[in-house]
Amino acid sequence: MKTIIALLIKQCKDSLRNLPSLMILIIYPAVAFVMIMAMKGEEGMDNVFVPMFAAMHCSFAPLVISSNILSEEKEKGTLRSLIMAGVSRVKVLISLSVFVLVSVLLTGSAFLLMKEFTVQTAASFAAAMLTGAAVSTLIGLCIGIYSKNVTAANGLAVPVGLVFALLPMLGQFNEGIAKIAKYTYSGQFREVFEGGEFTLNTTLVPAAYFVALSILLLVLFRRKGME
């Protein structure tokens, strides 16, 4: 446990000095806030922008940040120095995931201040945000393990992140895209972010992603060993 805490402290300090990572963490809540403020006269804009940007936040930010951190650790040799200090690779992945989930949840909680929520819808919102971030983090870790360096990781993470972030929004304007978007975890959670309840679909689709990505992560971890 002390190792994971040590890694979390390091990660917090490092991320606070990493402006691009900070920007990714706050950009969607900030843009949602600006949009709502800019269209204050229009009624119901919070119901449009909060679900839209919350879905983007929980899919894009954890995916890009986790892949970035992991690939940077590999590229700079810091991962190797941790392993040489007796830190297991699993602990590195756990601490990284905890950091990403907590920071996404904390920054994502800003959405709760932009729209009216009941206790129940707020709890559903937080659960969807956490689960969506967990699935995105798994994708990010897979990309981080697969990629040799930060450039390669970003080259994969940004387009993949954008697909999951933008599909639910584009689905609002195009029926064809909507049909595809409903098979994405971010598309399913968008409905929860709109104030809806967890349904069979909003549970099963993300669960399927979670299981499939966990298996993929395990396979990549065994084959590539994070080197």
Binding site: I9, K10, R17, K76, T78, S81, A85, G86, V87
Partner: protein, 287 residues
Amino acid sequence: MGDIPENSIISLYNVTRSFGDREVLKGISFEVSRGEIFGLLGPSGAGKTTLINILTGQLSCGGNAEIFGTGCGSIGSGLYRRIGAVLDNCGLYERLSCLDNLRLHARIHAVPFSRIEEALQKVGLAESGNKKVKALSKGMKQRLALARAILHEPKLIFMDEPTSGLDPSTALEIHDLMKELQSKGTTIFLTTHNMDEAYRMCDRIALLSEGEIVELGNPAEICRQHCSSSILNIVTTDGEQMEIDNSPAHAEAVAQLMREGRLKAIHSSEPDLGTVFLKLTGKELDK
């Protein structure tokens, strides 16, 4: 080949490693004893870093590789706590300060923070604790990596080209620290292609070429063993340089110079490690 030392910390027997069809290590065998500075010399691509990766459990291998009597394939966190490493890539967090980098490892090793100041002092970075790593020079980064490696007082330190690209005075400081660590019983496994460094620092060396050890032993002894000519180079007080055959027939000539007080310098003609390597492999060591 040199004698196998007692009390061995590192033990390799017939270690092999291939990458695809390319055989990088071909049956490497040697042991390193407690408190020894052991040097692995070879040109780039000889297999030095591969061997370090095997010894630190980062790569699997054929044959038998052990440190502290444990197979390198099953090194656990407990054993890693007895190892320090200064690797070619420093592995430092560039956005963090020197202190924060060392605090991370102090927390991991459960070492009191008071040791951090000591470690920084030893490597001459006491004044730079709050500096961000990215603001340090290459030599300072290397010294910080050394401070990190000695923070938890390991029994064995791996050093992969620790003075590569450093200025002579920084390299000298690192050499002094290595000797200090050795005097406290720390075993040092050094890889280098710097023959002077190996000659001065190492108790024993192994010359590695294309995955094979071509010579193993004390560097001075190796040089003497491979001394094929017995020429004495003499410089007299009036600047004259002479080459005299080192034989009884010329003893009187040398003695005469000494009696006359004309002998300024006299050198035997053993080859250096680079020459030995060239003789054994046909290749230059520092390439």
